[in-house]
Symmetry: C2
Subunit: 276 residues, 2 copies
């Protein structure tokens, strides 16, 4: 063990404390305070991914609880890469990823939580949201996609919705992938320069980049108002890919360990049955 | 390389030739003819799983085709384990597994292909069906869940449906996991004897086991009538776990290689944009 932080240490350092004022600028983006050594971050990720697989198998067998992991973060913050890394050892049998893009006409015909509710994990499953209902208080707020007073009401609506879910067997953790403006600039340039990454470049991302401060403010507000005891927000330093993945894996493993799923034993004995 | 069969050899040996009479008994269940050496089967699986991951990333980036892999097989034939092994390296971002159990009341209110169509892969995705519409000509036939003449009509309906899908960008491969009656007996006993596996034991499976011959006949008929050029059936020897996984991985890799997905290049150049 070289400086590996415990799950509790990572939780404490990244948690947006429920009921407290949040200043995003106080949360590091580099992550070196958690994993001084990059190689150690990689080892930690690998071990946690294996542990997550084992916990997922127990969750699947138990079939009574479920886990929802929400990834939010500005463009290039690493939502896809983190999902792939954290669940690299996990069977696709018991997990799903839902990416929430611009709502379809069918989705816009309902309230903004309708499509979110529709894609909840089943009992025994892990679901990852790549973006989520938080977009409705992020891009929704920054781009004035709804009247101001409606946006203001959403934070409480989201808290009530998430409370309802957790009271009905869904464990929720929310990870904000936190990067610096400089890192985003480097990653956007990388997408343009590396031919295999060029398909990921979306000129529209530059429009959002011009609104960097507005987005940071919207994130800060969402995290501050919606980090709760039952559905906490964690702010994950994401400038370093290896450290970001390792930190996220610690948090997901921590949530699953707390759920402590158990393989059920129906109590059958071989002598009860004639296999023939 | 120690005796590793090529993808083409595996395809040829396992294919239920479209338009031909099929005798299931002529297809081996042990798989030793493909992989004489078990360790070699494991190496082959590992390499194919990595190749499948890389192909899936290209498919996801390309976003124009999709792959549907249907796993069918009698209880304990290894549908779950094969899914996990073949896609052990694949990101959950671009793949989904749908397990089709007994239809819900909502599903029974529609025709039997309705729920199947609903869960088709999106462009760029791989979807695995753990059981499928074939249950409607398997358990449907054996247990007389619909009038005989209606069941008879389904084979053609399924072929037309699958043709429609393949004409619209979905590549389909169907794998029947083929085990002997003895192997099923051993695996059922194992589920009873090993405490961590006991939750998988379903006393109802013994009722189906009594109908072994009827199920084999129903499988033979389904494979014979529905193995087509556009959506072939492969009969995978599945008594040996390692060989079954390795064989399935060769077939999935073969399908993806034939699809040959390409990462798109939108042609952007760094100098076109001001990242700021």
């Amino acid at each position: 063990m070289f400086n590996r932080p415990s799950i509790e240490e990572i939780q404490d350092a990244t948690l947006a404390k429920p009921g407290s004022k949040i200043d995003l600028k106080e949360y590091p983006t580099h992550g070196k305070v958690f994993f001084a050594d990059k190689a150690e971050a990689k080892r930690s990720l690998k071990e946690d991914a294996l542990a997550i697989d084992e916990l997922q198998e127990r969750l699947y067998a138990e079939k009574s609880q479920s886990l929802l992991v929400v990834f939010q973060g500005i463009d290039t913050s690493g939502k896809d890469g983190t999902t792939k890394a954290v669940f690299s050892q996990t069977s696709p049998l018991g997990m799903r990823v839902h990416a929430f893009g611009k709502p379809s006409a069918n989705e816009l015909d309902r309230d903004y939580l309708w499509r979110i509710h529709r894609d909840m994990p089943r009992k025994g499953e892990i679901t990852v949201f790549n973006r989520s209902h938080y977009e409705d208080v992020l891009v929704g707020r920054v781009r004035n996609l709804a009247p101001k007073d409606q946006i203001e009401e959403r934070y409480e609506q989201i808290n009530n919705f998430e409370k309802h879910l957790t009271q009905n067997g869904v464990t929720i953790i929310k990870l904000m992938l936190h990067i610096s403006r400089e890192t985003q600039g480097e990653r956007l340039l990388e997408r343009l320069e590396v031919p295999e990454k060029r398909w990921k470049f979306n000129p529209g991302d530059l429009e959002d980049r011009k609104l960097w401060d507005d987005y940071q403010d919207a994130y800060q507000l969402a995290v501050e108002r919606c980090s709760t005891e039952y559905a906490p927000w964690y702010i994950v330093p994401s400038d370093s890919r290896a450290r970001r993945k390792a930190t996220a894996a610690r948090l997901v493993r921590g949530a699953l360990e707390k759920m402590d799923p158990k393989i059920p034993d129906p109590g059958y004995r071989p002598e009860q049955f004639d296999i023939g």
